[in-house]
Amino acid sequence: MTPNTTRWSLSPFETARAMSTNDPQPKSAEDWAAEMAAVSRRGDRDSFMRIYDHFFPRVRLYLRGLGSPEAVAEEIAQESLLRLWQRASMYEASRGSLATWLFRIARNLHIDRLRQERYWVALPEGAEPAEEAPDEPYSRAESYADHVDLARRIEKLPATQARLIRMSYFEAKSHSEIAAELGMPLGTVKSGLRRAFLKLQVEVCGSAS
C-alpha cells in the first residue's frame, strides 16, 4: 500500500561499475577463479580474504534487501563466505562463476533461516527439518563470457521487466506480492518475468551439457 519510492530511485541494477569502495582494483570472474584455486589447493588465506573483502559486503547487502535484520544478515553472510572456504575443493571455475555459487549459498541459508523461524513448532512425525536445496557450486557449464554477456543483457532490459526482476531477486517478492504492490494483474507480472528470463537466456544453450 505504501510504495517505497526511495527504493526505486536507485539506479536499475546499481550498474556494473566495476569499482567499489573496498576494492583497490576490479577483478574479473577469472581472477576470482584463480583466487579460489589457491584457496582450494593450499588453503591460501590471503586469497580467501581477498574474496571475502569483495563479496562479503555484497552478500550482506543482498540479505538485508531480503529483509533480514542487520545482525542476521551479517551472520548469514559470514556463514556463506565460510562455506566457500570449507568447500573450495568442490569448485571448478570452468563450470560456473563464484558469484553464482555464492548467490545460491546465501539464498539457501536465508530460506533455511526463515523456515526455522516459522517452523519451530513441531514438525509432523517422521519429517525432516532440513529441506532440499543442495548448494553445489554449479549446475551447468558457464563461461566467463556468459557472465559478462548476461550482465549486459540485464542492463538492457526494459524498465518494467527490470523492475520485476529486481523485486524478485533483491526483495524475494512473490508474483502475487509484486502484483499487489504494483497494482498489476498477476498474469502481467508472470508474463513480464517470463519475457525477461527468456531475453536473458538466449544462446547459453550452446555451451556444453
Partner: protein, 228 residues
C-alpha cells in the same frame, strides 16, 4: 520419468530468487528433482542471481567490516576444509546405498508430509477424494490429493497462483495428459476440468499461494470439499 509439462519460466525465476512461498517452493523442488530440463533452466535463473549479486554496490555505510574480518580470520583457523569428494557427490545418503526405496517420498516434501508413502494418513474429503494438508503455520496452502481413477473434478479456474505436481497416476484436461513428474503451473485465467486416468489413483501435491489480498476462489471452491 521424463516430464513433459514443466515449470513456467516466471516460477523458475522466483524459485531461483528465493521468492516462492514455502509450499510452492516444495512443489517446485519436487518437480525439479524429477526434471533435468527444468534444472537446466533453473541454473540459468541462478546465474542471473549471481550477476546481480556481483553487481551490488555496497555503500560506505556498510560498517563493522574490520571486526567481521577479524572474526572470519579467526574462524578460518578453526574450520577444516573439505577434501574433494571422490567420484562425485552423493546427494542422498539413504538412496545412495542399493536399490531406491520406493516407500520414500520425494525429498522436498518430507519436511511437510514425512518420509514414507505408507505412513501417510489420508483423510476422506469427498467421494473418491482423499487429502492431506501439511501443517502450515503461515502463508500458503500445501496439500496432497489422492483422487480415485476415472474421476472428474469440478470445473475450476485459478484465481491465484497454483502449482500442482503429479506424483503417481495421471489425469487429463484441456491442456493435455499429466503423468508422474508432470507439473501443472497454471496461469490464473485457465479454466479446466481434470479427469483422472483409469487404473491407479492420481496422487498430486499442490500449493496455493493465497495472500490475504486474494480471497481466492480456491478457498471457496474447496471449502465444502476439504474444510480448509
Amino acid at each position: 520419468m521424463n516430464p513433459r509439462h514443466h515449470l513456467d519460466e516466471a516460477t523458475l525465476v522466483s524459485y531461483a530468487a528465493g521468492a516462492l512461498s514455502d509450499g510452492m517452493r516444495a512443489v517446485a523442488a519436487t518437480h525439479l528433482e524429477a526434471c533435468g530440463h527444468c534444472r537446466e533452466q533453473l541454473a540459468g535463473a541462478e546465474r542471473i542471481g549471481g550477476v546481480l549479486l556481483s553487481q551490488r554496490q555496497p555503500g560506505p555505510e556498510a560498517g563493522g567490516l574490520a571486526r567481521l574480518r577479524a572474526e572470519m580470520l579467526a574462524r578460518l583457523g578453526t574450520t577444516a576444509q573439505q577434501r574433494a569428494p571422490l567420484g562425485g557427490e552423493a546427494s542422498g545418503q539413504e538412496e545412495a546405498a542399493g536399490a531406491p526405496d520406493t516407500d520414500l517420498l520425494p525429498r522436498p516434501l518430507r519436511p511437510y508430509f514425512g518420509k514414507s508413502w505408507r505412513a501417510l494418513r489420508w483423510r476422506w474429503t469427498a467421494p473418491g477424494v482423499h487429502m492431506i494438508r501439511a501443517g502450515r503455520p503461515s502463508g500458503d496452502t500445501l496439500i496432497m490429493l489422492k483422487i480415485a481413477p476415472g474421476k472428474s473434478m469440478p470445473v475450476h479456474s485459478h484465481g491465484g497462483a497454483e502449482l500442482t505436481q503429479v506424483l503417481k497416476g495421471a489425469y487429463d484436461d484441456a491442456l493435455g495428459h499429466f503423468g508422474p513428474g508432470d507439473m501443472a503451473d497454471l496461469d490464473c485465467d485457465i479454466e479446466h476440468q481434470p479427469v483422472t486416468s483409469p487404473g491407479v489413483p492420481c496422487i498430486c501435491v499442490a500449493a496455493l499461494d493465497e495472500p490475504l489480498r486474494f480471497p481466492g476462489w480456491i478457498a471457496r471452491k474447496l471449502q465444502p470439499l476439504v474444510r480448509l
